[in-house]
Assembly symmetry: D2
Homo-oligomer: 406 residues x 4
């Protein structure tokens, strides 16, 4: 009897693993580490259901890849068994390089490497261990495969990665407005001149997909309370680094206290032992730290007693920032520089669709191809192009009451 494992998934029902090799990747400790990394960092402080993991997301993306390949094949696109396996492995492992708290801590712990770069390093190491079993997957992941559309399924505006995370994040947060018709989109995919495209009758679904993504950005990913908590986490780690506060976690210390000179390539083993636990544990430890700034931040994160945050449509005036810093400085009896860990401003932006560097191409019945932004359709045409920018200020609440739950 053929090899076959099934995994329950509340989103898709069942996920089938029909290749022993895929199962071997899943069993690998590097992959199992993803169980200990939240997909949505601290979003669960606002959406208590959003505690799903990177492992769960990448299993989901793997599932969609299988569906996408079946659909393309049924439309006459040739994909060999080996290419199928490669594409599935590539998407399964695409996030294996994520560090603790996913995007929230990116660039804090590992200053000079993007998570996709680290994913590649880890895949290469696994490939050595497994005697080249990942050759095809790596070619697809890095875009060096001949069949460019397979790379696009892994990484592009239409990849199964963002389909899964939108569906899954919408599911676990309970934000029903983020629901996308992934099944319809998958069914509308087509390959034309080696490029992944969307059939003409899928235009509206793509439109809907872009709108849902934008909705999720502002309602969830950049929800002000979520943003505030994640910025506090960043500030806590920066403060720990700046005052040389040691974590009990040796791994964390490695990355926290000498990120400058550190080449991730040389510290991959250490990196692969780092996960959310190291951070959360250190936060618990530092909640009792004698440095007032560090303990205030960590205590706040632990007990969901967050800084106040406000969004503005224009940049935060220096005067406002300074005023709030002065207040904090007086309140906690700390100097102004220290206060800047508790009172700070910044900018966030979401780009729904940027035709400059990303493409969703529509294949029309007459054989012509157009970028979605050039389709004669008012919604996309006029409004989704521009990035939306917002400016925020986080500051200490004088009577230090926590933010509203929602």
């Amino acid at each position: 009897m053929a090899f076959r494992k099934i995994i329950n998934d509340p989103v898709y029902g069942f996920i089938n693993i029909a290749d022993e090799l895929i199962f071997e990747f899943i069993r690998h400790p590097y992959y199992q580490r993803l169980r200990r990394i939240h997909q949505m960092a601290l979003a669960h402080l606002v959406y208590p259901g959003a505690v799903h993991t990177r492992l769960h997301h990448s299993l989901g993306a793997y599932h969609l890849m299988g569906n996408a390949i079946n659909i393309l094949r049924s439309k006459g696109v040739e994909i060999s068994k080996e290419e199928e396996l490669g594409a599935k492995a590539a998407i399964l492992l695409h996030d294996i390089g994520h560090g603790p708290f996913s995007h929230a801590l990116e660039s804090v712990l590992i200053k000079n490497s993007h998570h996709e770069e680290i994913s590649l390093l880890i895949m290469e190491r696994m490939n050595k261990e497994l005697h080249g079993a990942l050759d095809q997957a790596i070619a697809i992941f890095t875009g060096k495969t001949e069949k460019h559309f397979l790379h696009q399924l892994v990484s592009s505006q239409l990849d199964v990665d963002r389909m899964d995370y939108l569906i899954r994040d919408s599911f676990f947060t309970g934000v029903s407005e983020g629901v996308i018709g992934y099944d319809r989109i998958l069914n509308m995919l087509i390959v034309h001149k080696n490029e992944l495209m969307v059939e003409e009758k899928g235009i509206q679904s793509i439109e809907k997909f872009l709108v849902s993504r934008r909705f999720m950005y502002w309602q969830v990913y950049l929800h002000k309370t979520v943003l505030c908590a994640e910025k506090m986490l960043v500030k806590a780690l920066q403060r720990a680094a700046s005052i040389g506060a040691q974590s009990q976690s040796a791994m964390l210390n490695t990355f926290l206290h000498n990120p400058g000179e550190l080449l991730i390539r040389d510290r991959l083993d250490d990196f692969c032992q780092l996960d959310d636990t190291d951070i959360t544990y250190s936060i618990k430890q530092w909640a009792h730290h004698k440095d007032k700034v560090l303990s205030t931040l960590c205590c706040g994160l632990l007990n969901r007693n967050l800084l106040k945050i406000r969004y503005y449509s224009s940049p935060i005036a220096n005067e406002l920032l300074e005023e709030k810093q002065q207040l904090a400085s007086g309140y906690l009896q700390i100097n102004r520089e220290d206060a800047s860990y508790l009172v700070f401003s910044g900018e966030v932006r979401s780009t729904t669709y940027n035709p400059g560097n990303e493409h969703i191409n529509i294949l029309f019945k007459d054989g012509s191809v157009k970028d979605i932004s050039e389709v004669d359709h008012p919604l996309i045409h006029q409004s989704l192009l521009g990035a939306v920018k917002k400016f925020y200020i986080c500051y200490l609440n004088m009577n230090f009451h926590p933010e509203a739950v929602h």
Copy 2:
């Protein structure tokens, strides 16, 4: 404008918090700690979606309590504003005494206290802090209220606690067979002579509820891989205690290394700082411990490289146990006593309904009352009464391949 917070919940849509006092309980650090305790311990090793928390579950039970009270009121049952608030607070806080990994580690860390006892201790402490705001809640929680049915909504065969956990666990595992018609059951509740009962036309829903619960027991809670992982966790902690292995977590050490003499009442502060993080962090640390038994268990848990487990319908023969222990002892070069941490047997049971000590009473249209097990209805009548018992053996896999995913 009245006080009002809404929280997104993927299970019920929205949870409304309409009382400032309730919101104050939610904000309390003791309650926020529940964010860091998995509702289903290690079930996520089999069901990757099952990473929801005790906080989420108790918010859900709180939501159902509100519904139940509205329904009872609409049937003419009198419940004062104060009683409503008490019942809601009682269910919100009913699990506040859970330690790390909920049931999995109960009786390992705190030998002589049940989690409900600890919940009460914590509620009493909060009550002092809050100048008696929990008086009514405590009376309802402990069954000292006049309106016994309110206590039954918090703790009985028909309480909203088990309704929420069945729905929620079914939802997050993706095991659709566990779905119960909670809405119908709530609508069938009635109070008769101060006791919570079910209207006659709800008999089949109750039946279905009991069958779903039994299904969840064997498919999920006592799934052999889940059981195996949780037993490994217990063994790891017992091993650490027995060899005096220190965790970096001082809190964990407190409970691990002198549980005998420890009175939870005297260590409540420490207990309230303990959560899943302390355990997982220690597991990560001990995976490198020089004690082979401890590191084998911790490594296995970390990488989901579990012991083998088999279920039997009769007790495990000593010969089998000894044979497996001998093999492990030889394989790892350890003595037989040490091997007993890696090769062990035990018994599990699920009682679907035991009319001896629990009651679901049906109120018939003619005014008579019968226990569900005495209703003239074959399914319940003949089969659900007996406990189902199974016997398991866990043992070391010689080539140490992990268990199947499912």
Copy 3:
């Protein structure tokens, strides 16, 4: 590009039609007629969502057949392209012989033929038209194929027909307790010695499936208000036949006024023009009929002003029946025989599982096979075997108020 149609289905998301021949069957007027036959007859009088059609159900069963075949193939079962097409066509057309209001009017309009017999007649006629395209489907439908398990997928205790109707009826009624884990059951199917069986680890899912079915029987299919309405429909047609009331529908007259001598084989053309519309239209017409009995029944059906109904666990006493008939006779000024159309009794039964004439076989890991009723498992073992019987009486409500909605 290959042939490919997709149909939106709220239950499964999308149904794919990948064979032109299947699409040709769907387009056939005989199949399109099923759009005008309610899947659940008059159940919508209690469950307003239950207005789905036979066409929708058979498309759903077709979808499950595709899944089942894929799963069996992945387990090494050989099924040729031709057999696949045959099995899909057989399930698609299995209900094509249903008359108006499905089961509710069976044996009223067509006295001596079961709907499956008529389905076969129609399939044979279509087969002639289509030059043998249904040869394989007919062999599978009638059990004359060598691969007996294909017939079992179409018609047996484990067929995809009842899987779809349970899921779909549960979905459209909103009775969540009827939900079955069809995906899990399909994944547990296996073929052993040419017979369809269930893997050992699927025992509990089967159990759950049988319990859900039983629940649906009593909560929905035999819900007393549904039963009452359907019996009223039968009585209305019997009354019309008995007094020679003409419908404007010539087709209906054909079947109503000479069912005795009628051989369905000779009237297949007429039959294929009959659907729910003919009946409902006639009911509307007869609501104004001068015969008090007929108009009372039809008016009641039209305005959901139903007879009263009560269930009993023992047969209805003649005295009660006579008393109620006398009351009705006096109330409407009709004779006792006429009153028997408005006051009548009967018996209904549901058999959850009868090991005498149906089988669900479990294939154990050790290669042995057992009937589910012989498995060492209390629930099935002791309780599901017996049929549950209930007795009902329907009678005229003197102040003629309608039944409660629920």
Copy 4:
């Protein structure tokens, strides 16, 4: 015990009826007639699940009204028991004036009256019967109530009518992209200066709501196959009227053959006996009519053998229309005028939001009020305002093959 009925609804779970008066309206034959009117006319020819009824929709809108009122009250808005009942009755009965096939046949059967006008006539008649029980409901329905926001809940851009139909139509078609976060929108409603508004933080939900509605328009309501079928139905009735074809339904004849002089006010009784059945039955009858045009249209509708349809972005050229008419005229041996029933063109449009005559007002935290179209938010601001217009041509398929399923 208080009066209480619950109705299962697959969309919301349960709908509660807590007022005896509401239940009396539901039981009324005028309301029960809505069981026989499809909510979505012929959309089920493309979306087989879309067979739900006007009765089901108006029960759903009634349910949302209850929720909306509870939410507004919890925000301090005063609504008396009587006003609550009035608002609930108004929404329950808002569609009671719909004729067969809802919007599809509007203006064909009843030329000079909109369905809302007829709803009012029927409500007034019921009000007389029920001794003024609908006084308040009628005041709210017609906007004559003091509390204007209650009227807006029944009829405005934010009314519960469109919320329910979007949710329900999305649910039954299985078009998941139409899902709206109705629960969030309801929770964001507020009353300011007697007007219904949306809180500032609900802006994105409203945006999402408008986009979903637009999606549903083009994907479902104006799906080209649906449009084609509904236009064929219109043409069939117009043809029948023009050649004086009699239906067996006397009611239908009344409206079909003298619509000009007919005042609906004088024919309300007849109108209330008309439903989808009369039309479908007549279509079945006319499928055998000797007039080729009528029988072609009716046959096509019956067997889903539809005309071909194409959408264009500019008006259909007369030349194209004439060419296709000529072909049809030759093919069926009919004259050019007759051919115009089988070959015709037209225009459809959807306006997502027109700030000229409709308003969704946002109440900002600072107390200011802005129309959603003036909010500083690119999506709404730039793109949703304009109507989208399309032009269609329907024509006879020479080899008369039916349209694709999807």
